[in-house]
Amino acid sequence: MAEARDPLRYFRIEARELVDQISAAVLDLDQQPGPDLVARLLRFAHTLKGAARVVKQTEIADRAHTIEEVLVPHRGNETALPTDDMRELLRLNDEIARFVRDLESPAENSAETPAEDDEPAPRSVTADLDELLDAIGEANARIAPLRDGRRTLARIHRGVETLGEQLRSGREPVDVRATVQRLASDLAGLGRRFTDAVDQVERELDEVRGRAESLRLVAAGTIFTALHRAVHDAAEAEGKHVRFVSGGAETRMGPQLLNQVNGAFLHVVRNAVVHGIEPEEQRLAAGKPAEGTITVQVERRGRWAHFRCTDDGRGFDLAGLRRIAAARGLLPAGREPDPQELIDLVLHGGVSTSGTVTEVAGRGIGMDVARDVAVQLHGSVSITNRPGQGATVEIAVPLTLLSMNGLIMEAGGTVATMPMDAVRRCVRLALDDAADASASGRLAYEGQVVPFLPLARALTPAAHGHANPGVAVVLTADERTVAVGVDRLAGTTTLVARPLPDLAPAAPVIGGVAIDLDGNPRLVLDPHGLVAAARINAGRSAPASELTAPPRPILVVDDSLTTRMLERSILESAGYEVDLAASAEEALEMAHARDYGLFLTDIDMPGMDGFAFVSRARDDPDLAAIPAILVSSRSSADDRRRGEDVGAAAYVVKGEFNQEELLAHIRRLIL
């Protein structure tokens, strides 16, 4: 029925794919000429021609034929195609693409929607579906033992009934005991098989769920063809030779996000060609290769996706930027701005919208779009300028949904998943090695010493005296390698990680959360947080260093008993341990005897006052790092300023005293 109503249904899908493949292959041919690519292009064009003829799309078939004619003379050649031929190929393919689009929704496409703003084609969907189907098949296969088990169960059942019958009728078998034992052992075996099979089915279903979830996501590589094309077109218009290099195509993310970044990056790469890459003679004079290079790299770091566009051109025109900024009064008073400040003006200073800066610095408009997209996606954009060497524009956006392969680990009774791409190796730990590593915070690995962190210590603060980890998972993030000790590994999984919900502040080792098969949250670790935590752990010699241990105690200093008690009750209610001092002198003495996390001090006290106490503590190397909050009935701006001058981290006025506000300060400071 569907075919009868819509004979073009399948042609549209095929044609779209072929147009995409032709476009990518022509652009590749531009960079690496070779007979293989020509042959591949001929195949694509031929297939398209045949398919178009079948559905009577002569415009498309004719153009596919012309593509073949352009290519045929170059078949088997190692040399590059002449520029005119390349241009002709792209032009023909663009025309075909237009016809294909018109087939899809003739009415909509009459409007002039530029081709590059189209949503990237989810080209990898077929492969993903294949993998999903594989996973479903695997899950199905795991049910077979259960089916066999049913037969065994029936056999045991018959055995029991026969035995019962024999016992009832007095026809006892030769050895009742042996018969019962055999039945019992059959039952036990069956039980084990059932347990195994259910475990396996569960794991496979987990895999199916993960793959199905990741179908919602698209590989970053789907935008590369459009970016490559933009670079090609801009370079041709400018008469420059520019090479397009890409990396990180397999990183997956939501199609919406990718689409938006794509829109911004089309401007960014175009600007890099037009304003960044110098004309050939200038490049040669500067000792650079005649051909410029634009590199687009997509990388996932934790929950963030980084899109980088790097060119090897001339970099930003700092002198020009400085002139404009000076004219508009945007330069810092009394000093020369450093180059990065000038660059940042393009992004943040409001100069970016100015036409003049656009002309001088060149990249205003692209930067505007990049910044808008970054803001919309709650991300950021940054520029690194290397005068004479080129520039890098980077957009970093948080990923709300993130598909990843994970290693399931158990530690201290908690199950957590580690993103697989950070894992380098898993090493079984001998008992002694585990004890040494846990105590020293260091592990010998491949001839070097790497920081070691028992995961249980990071996940469960109360894991004192916990059994030594059995496996060390070696991981790399931020170009640093550390080892994390876990009790055991429980397999791998495909999962979609999402950010932690609001109202759930977590230790930095936690990167997000995924939903398991039962609908329960499962923690996803953050390799960057773990690397940082392991390095801190190794930095402290004593194993007692607890990363998520209860916060260090707070020392309350106040001459008023009522205030001391009130503050103590508030702080203890919030889970803090509190010591009390009735004077600043006493407090200084106590501060040296115990490792406090925070001082909460009154100002007006007999003897040394609060200002002096904070100032003394700041000057004392042992105490300088401990934040201090002043709590006073003085509310004048002068007092606040004085508090700030002596180094108080916050100032709370007693009259406006508010438990939540105080706790918010403390939480901020004591972490």
Binding site: A458, R498, A504, A507, I510, L566, S573, G575
Partner: protein, 179 residues
């Protein structure tokens, strides 16, 4: 005998007619629905209208972090919800894991866990002793109700939510008090 039957009929008719003349009872205004609970060994009451669901034995995944009152995360139909220990929020944390959880009204999603559910009761509005929002401590408690002869403090869910927001760093700290 016949007279008394006629009298009876007349009385019944009068009662029947009179019943229409009485004003309709307004349940919602005169009664308040409460959940009687125990948190950390102490009795409290929660207004049912301030909750969005009651769940026993919900698996909670512990979340390591700075807040002792945050028990962890629970999954509800694909949504991940932070669960706080009510007794810890009320200032008397205990070692036992709470068994019950109510979802607080409002956004973002928030679960409050307590140890025992004593029951669901409807009390007359007058039975609740209201209290001006008090200063200082016990910020989550508003008013009191007498149930089975014993007084119970009423946990105000929106106030508890406000405390959680503050603890989780959702508070606006004025620029002036910030360094």
């Amino acid at each position: 005998m016949t007279v008394s039957v006629a009298d009876r009929i007349a009385r019944l008719r009068l009662d029947f007619d009179r019943s229409f003349a009485e004003p309709v009872r307004r349940h919602d205004e005169e009664h308040v629905e409460l959940l009687a609970v125990h948190a950390g060994g102490r009795p409290y009451a929660l207004r049912l209208a301030q909750t969005a669901g009651l769940h026993p034995d919900r698996p909670v995944t512990p979340l390591p972090g700075p807040l002792a009152a945050l028990l962890g995360l629970a999954g509800f139909a694909g949504t991940v919800i932070p669960v706080y220990d009510l007794s810890a929020l009320l200032g008397h944390p205990g070692p036992d894991r709470p068994r019950w959880m109510v979802l607080a009204v409002g956004a973002p999603p928030l679960g409050l866990a307590f140890h025992e559910l004593d029951g669901h009761v409807r009390v007359e509005a007058e039975a609740i002793v209201d209290e001006e929002p008090a200063e200082g401590q016990r910020g989550c408690l508003r008013g009191m109700v007498r149930l089975d002869g014993a007084p119970r403090l009423i946990v105000d869910v929106p106030a508890t939510r406000a405390l959680v927001h503050a603890l989780a760093g959702h508070i606006q700290v004025t620029e002036e008090t910030r360094r």
